[in-house]
């Protein structure tokens, strides 16, 4: 099953309460950090652990922390990004719902490292029920002296608050999140300046994903050296994977990075294969924004090597034949699923979630959605397929924030790997309308 660093005690009854959590080793990292380590030592430990941001981009957390500006007399903020909205991703929710104190513990240790005296957890508005769970847990932590003034007699003060969003995927982008936390529309900011220099209220700010902050707890507890032994050389530690789509046993799993994709999909400890005994047609391994992989590139790379659940192996082959670990939103497609319909569905998602600030994203995502809808409805023509490929090239890299890329990549990858299925929709409009998804049109894919 591999080692569990985050979810070890998830099944313990009452683990959402302070006392039970504490009895199972909870808040030890706070004690260790505040009593035996300087803030800088905590930062260095996290840097040494090579923890990569678990929100999707995979940027090294410790490096992000080291960029934080520390001007005199200006407050610094740590903001937890709990705006989990990437389709296929539901791990942060699972963690916060079941282990609220793990996140709070991570927030305290991390805030101490960064010298923040006020920290926020920005949670998507739809998770209001989790906001209530977190606030209850925060109240407990205050009562037990782990939050507030002079924590554990260390002289360190921290206030922690939870702020809800209002329904906007884009607020998962860190500068849009900060805008939203300031009470504005979630329009991403132009960078530079980066939040580490000018973030919340113009002050130096670190924005980290829920899982990244939670991972700080085991890193401090067991030490970076021990943490580095878990996972692969380039992907240290464990990762929460949100398994969904047509899997026999969907859910959130904590894996040691480096587990083989085949083992994860078919293993008895994990997803147990495709639901209803069907075959796998495609896989999106890291949330809807990353490229889709056709059946033959899922368990093996283009060069025939075993594909592993790690940053480096999932991206092996680049965009031509690889994908990305992303947020760990692991979406499996069975043999009856229509790639065109799914591509259209995601295009609609991105168009719906575009903030509308910059023209390539605002206009381009909406345009792609319309063209894809036509193709799916049997009203497309061959030049539409090339048009789509061209539109997404014109969006990619030209927008203020990565939403443009996130919208473009899935379309590009779907056309790259499943072009015949798109063409089939054009040449068989009646069948496409009836919802026959055209598996027969794909001789190149061996299932």
């Amino acid at each position: 099953m591999g080692r569990k660093l985050l979810l070890e005690h998830i099944d313990v009854p009452g683990i959402e309460t302070f006392d039970v959590y504490r009895n199972h080793g909870g808040y030890k990292s706070v004690e260790k950090a505040l009593k035996t380590m300087s803030p800088q030592e905590v930062v260095e430990e996290v840097q040494k652990s090579a923890l990569k941001g678990r929100g999707g981009a995979g940027f090294p957390t410790g490096m992000k922390w080291s960029f934080l500006a520390k001007p005199e007399g200006v407050p610094r903020y740590l903001v937890c990004n709990a705006d989990e909205s990437e389709p296929g991703t539901f791990k942060d929710r699972y963690l916060m719902e079941k282990l609220p104190h793990l996140l709070i513990e991570g927030m305290i240790t991390s805030s101490y490292a960064l010298g923040a005296n006020t920290s926020y957890i920005y949670i998507r508005g739809e998770y209001y029920f989790i906001l209530e769970i977190l606030e209850k847990a925060i109240d407990e932590a205050y009562a037990k002296g782990f939050l507030g003034k002079n924590i554990l007699g260390s002289g360190y003060d921290l206030d922690l608050y939870v702020a809800p969003g209002g329904g906007a995927y884009i607020c998962g982008e860190e500068t849009a999140l900060l805008e939203s936390l300031e009470g504005k529309r979630g329009n991403p900011r132009m960078k530079p300046p980066f939040p580490a220099i000018k973030g919340l209220y113009g002050c130096p700010t670190v924005v980290n994903n829920v899982e990244s902050i939670a991972a700080v707890v085991p890193i401090i507890n067991i030490g970076a050296d021990e943490y580095l032994k878990i996972g692969t050389e380039k992907s240290s530690g464990t990762k929460l994977i949100s398994a969904c789509g047509n899997l026999a046993r969907p859910g959130v799993y904590e894996i040691e990075l480096g587990l083989s994709v085949e083992e994860f999909i078919y293993g008895d400890d994990w997803c147990r294969g495709i639901a209803n005994g069907k075959k796998i047609k495609a896989l999106i391994p890291g949330g809807s924004s990353v490229p889709i992989l056709p059946a033959h590139l899922i368990t093996k790379t283009a060069t025939g090597e075993t594909r592993y659940m790690s940053y480096e192996s999932l991206s092996d082959g680049g965009f031509a034949s690889g994908s990305m670990l992303g947020s760990g939103g692991f979406i499996a497609f069975d043999e009856d699923q229509c790639i065109v319909r799914n591509t259209w569905n995601f295009a609609r998602f991105y168009s719906h979630e575009s903030c509308g600030q910059c023209s390539p994203c605002r206009e381009g995502t909406a345009w792609m959605e319309k063209v894809l809808r036509r193709i799916e409805n049997g009203e497309g023509n061959m030049r539409d397929i090339d048009l789509l490929a061209d539109i997404n090239k014109k969006i990619e890299g030209n927008t203020i924030c990565p939403l443009g890329d996130a919208a473009a990549w899935p379309v590009a990858a779907a056309i790259r790997h499943f072009r015949e299925e798109f063409e089939w929709h054009v040449t068989h409009p009646q069948d496409a309308l009836k919802g026959n998804y055209g598996l027969l049109s794909m001789p190149s894919i061996t299932l």
Partner: protein, 178 residues
């Protein structure tokens, strides 16, 4: 055109308890940054004032936060959770994004539509009880199809579960209003 005076006359007040809650939210942010409280206060206001944000409600929120009404309109229209028009007593927001679609959300949406006797998403059943909406990914991908009603998630939906859910909400409503 509605004058400011008229708006103020119509504006609904929060109860003392709710006002204290709002003050508490404002205090979470540094002085002068009370605008940061806007999303939470809008959530509270929507719940308090009939499940939607009328212009009067939004103007009231603006006055509480000491900002211009347009700043509230800009925000309220940006975020999809806020209802800008009156809805039924209960709003069913069914997730329709990829992972849910793969496990049958389209069929569930169709089922609810027929069950409520409505022709389009966004409409309310004739008895004013249920409004059907769709939502983009609600973070329940492994437990789909699913819908959100108020703060609650309802997962692993089947037609039978939808039937039971509607009965549950109907009886909840009649208990609360009798």
């Amino acid at each position: 055109m509605i004058s400011t005076q008229e708006l103020q006359a119509k504006r609904p007040p929060f109860s003392t308890e709710k006002l204290e809650e709002v003050q508490g939210v404002i205090k979470q942010f540094p002085e002068g940054r009370q605008k940061s409280a806007i999303l939470r206060v809008l959530h509270i206001a929507e719940e308090e004032f009939g499940g939607w944000l009328s212009p009067e409600t939004m103007d009231y929120v603006a006055s509480l936060l000491n900002i211009q009404p347009i700043e509230v309109y800009e925000v309220a229209t940006f975020y999809t959770m806020f209802n800008l028009e009156p809805t039924g007593k209960f709003v069913f927001e069914v997730c329709r994004t990829g992972p849910c679609m793969l496990v049958g959300s389209d069929d569930i949406i169709e089922y609810i539509k027929n069950k409520l006797g409505i022709s389009k998403i966004g409409e309310t059943s004739a008895d004013g009880m249920f409004t059907l909406k769709t939502a983009e990914c609600l973070g329940a991908c492994g437990y789909g199809p699913m819908l959100q009603c108020g703060k609650k998630y309802h997962e692993y939906l089947t037609p039978e579960k939808v039937d039971a859910l509607m009965d549950e909400y109907r009886s909840k409503y009649s208990t609360e209003n009798n």
